[in-house]
Symmetry: C2
Subunit: 356 residues, 2 copies
């Protein structure tokens, strides 16, 4: 039922190939001269409030950006409301802000419109996109091309990882630590390359137990909340599982009431200062009867997990999301294949979302 590493399955071939291409894609990003130029523009721009805008996987990466900017240069970064500016035309002062528009296609209409309006009102604007010829790139002062190469699967993998890495590089540069940050990403890429085959095998074995699961919660906190969001999105779009991402604390502020043996809870456990909150939420979910999946490099710290999908340690806590999300990508790929679904072409989704 599961595909061995190296074998090309009928469905999801692009998704799987692109997951495997991620180490190379990360290295392309850190080595591209355009990356350094965009990082310098941000670091030298003198604006210390960052407004991140994107949807779907790009918005998950924006969640990570809040932590990268908060922890490296100590800047305030927020996932800004797009509708306040685009729909309601709110007159918020933007001249002291730098806007980072996130869109792999560069064609998400309201992100392009947000960037256009923010620029006309005095914000500095940076496009982070896989298409440097896109309308988002045109709308912004500076472009940081993702350099991920063409992504054919509708379910994103390498563009997500490179967007997270771009956030880390931009934040590292803002803290005057661009080269050191690039080296952290390079090391992480090599750790990932080595880990991929065994991780795929483990994820494929695990997926067999989840063929009939209709809903899940995916729990992360802090730096890893982005990972929880992205894994939940992969499960939802490729496997048709209604997976909802929650912070460890949000779980116990309501949704824990809906948890029982029919709702598996996936926890992202990385060794940082938020781990105790994830452990506490996991214990409460287990007490409610939930089957626990523990992933991340601290997966062994989650007591009573029925399944574990550990990844190797990252060189720094901020690099952990580049590894921990891959367990979820590979699990989603395996589960989709088992269910006869095609992650390359999920029903009702397209590579460029042109919704309002």
């Amino acid at each position: 039922m599961t595909a061995a590493a190296g074998e090309v399955p009928d469905t999801g071939a692009s998704f799987r190939a692109e997951i495997y291409e991620q180490p190379d894609a990360l290295i392309r990003l850190i080595e591209a001269p355009a990356t350094a130029a965009a990082c310098d523009a941000l670091a030298e721009g003198g604006r210390r409030t960052v407004r991140l805008v994107g949807h779907g996987s790009s918005d998950a990466a924006a969640s990570y950006g809040v932590y990268a900017f908060g922890l490296l240069p100590g800047w305030t970064a927020m996932r800004d409301s797009i509708s306040l500016t685009v729909y309601y035309d709110a007159q918020i002062a933007l001249v002291e802000s730098v806007v980072i528009g996130l869109s792999q296609s560069g064609r998400t209409p309201d992100v392009v419109e947000y960037a256009t309006r923010a620029r006309s009102r005095g914000a500095a604007t940076i496009a982070v996109t896989n298409d440097p010829g896109s309308s988002l790139a045109e709308a912004c002062d500076v472009t940081l091309p993702l350099a991920a190469g063409p992504e054919r699967s509708v379910a994103a993998s390498k563009t997500y990882l490179n967007t997270v890495a771009a956030m880390l590089l931009l934040a590292g540069s803002a803290a005057g630590r661009r080269e050191e940050t690039a080296e952290v990403i390079r090391t992480t890429a090599e750790v990932l390359r080595t880990a991929l085959p065994a991780l795929e095998e483990a994820a494929s074995r695990l997926a067999t137990a989840f063929a009939y699961v209709g809903r899940m919660y995916v729990i992360g906190r802090g730096i890893e909340f982005a990972t929880a969001r992205e894994i939940a999105l992969k499960l939802t779009e490729t496997c048709r599982v209604a997976a909802e991402p929650l912070t460890a604390t949000d779980l116990v502020h309501g949704p824990i009431a809906a948890v029982d043996a029919l709702v598996p809870v996936w926890t992202i456990a990385s060794p940082d200062e938020s781990l105790h909150a994830v452990k506490d939420a996991a214990a409460r979910a287990r007490d409610a009867g939930a089957v626990l999946i523990a992933s991340g490099s601290a997966a062994s710290d989650i007591d009573g997990a029925a399944y574990r999908l550990p990844v190797p340690p990252a060189p720094t806590p901020l690099a952990a999301p580049l590894l921990s999300v891959v367990a979820g990508q590979l699990f989603a790929a395996a589960l989709a294949r088992m269910k006869g679904l095609d992650p390359d072409q999920p029903e009702r989704l397209s590579k460029v979302t042109l919704a309002p």
Copy 2:
């Protein structure tokens, strides 16, 4: 199976009584001298960046605050990361910020800790809490008591509505329009009082069709995203439905792939500039086979809805969430009763969440 208005059911009696008490609670809030004092302190404090922190229903109200502050005084308000400051001790400049800590009990540990640290680092701090003697009130410079009266149901209703109203009053005051804003809330409270009995009857009739629903999406955008979050939370905690809130745009960036005839989609339709996005998302969900519930005062604008639960028009777009959420509260109360669940005491929840 449904309770007529005025009849007291065995379970959820407090939840229902507190839903009915909301018009009075709103009026207590706008008439309390402490409300005016807290509003003046914010308006005169000279800080125009607002950091909102809370969990659960308080965090849903914070989503509303982002719009109220963006649209009335044109200030930047964000739902700030609690873990950046409390777990990771990030060194972000806070001296130009005003922190608004939201907690009905005033005892949410990480919200209290966030406020304490932010205050010691130079932020102005306001507690919005139903307990002016709580540790959150102690930790902050200024307290805006919710004046909702004792809330006995674990599932919040009147403290949520008064927190939303407090956000509106604070934002209105920041724009120099406190008295006008208070009058809008007063009018809205009277509209709600008149609407309640018929709305309860309609919600109870509607709930009978949802006894076996395990998961739902709740869709709002812009000003009404807070309502989508709060209705989803009510359904999850009181009815054990895995209800996930999504912006209209986020639905089509992934989760639409998991929608089919087994996943009802609840839409909040209010007559403002985001309505077209909600209409578009609703059309896509309907095309995927979903049963649509349309609520809000523009419920009739959602084409092809199987069920409608309209509320009367609000006096201004920013007041709409004070009415539209009540349809969800009453639906959750009716559905919980039908399923034999007790919204006053959901399993595994307590009135004060002391999680990390």
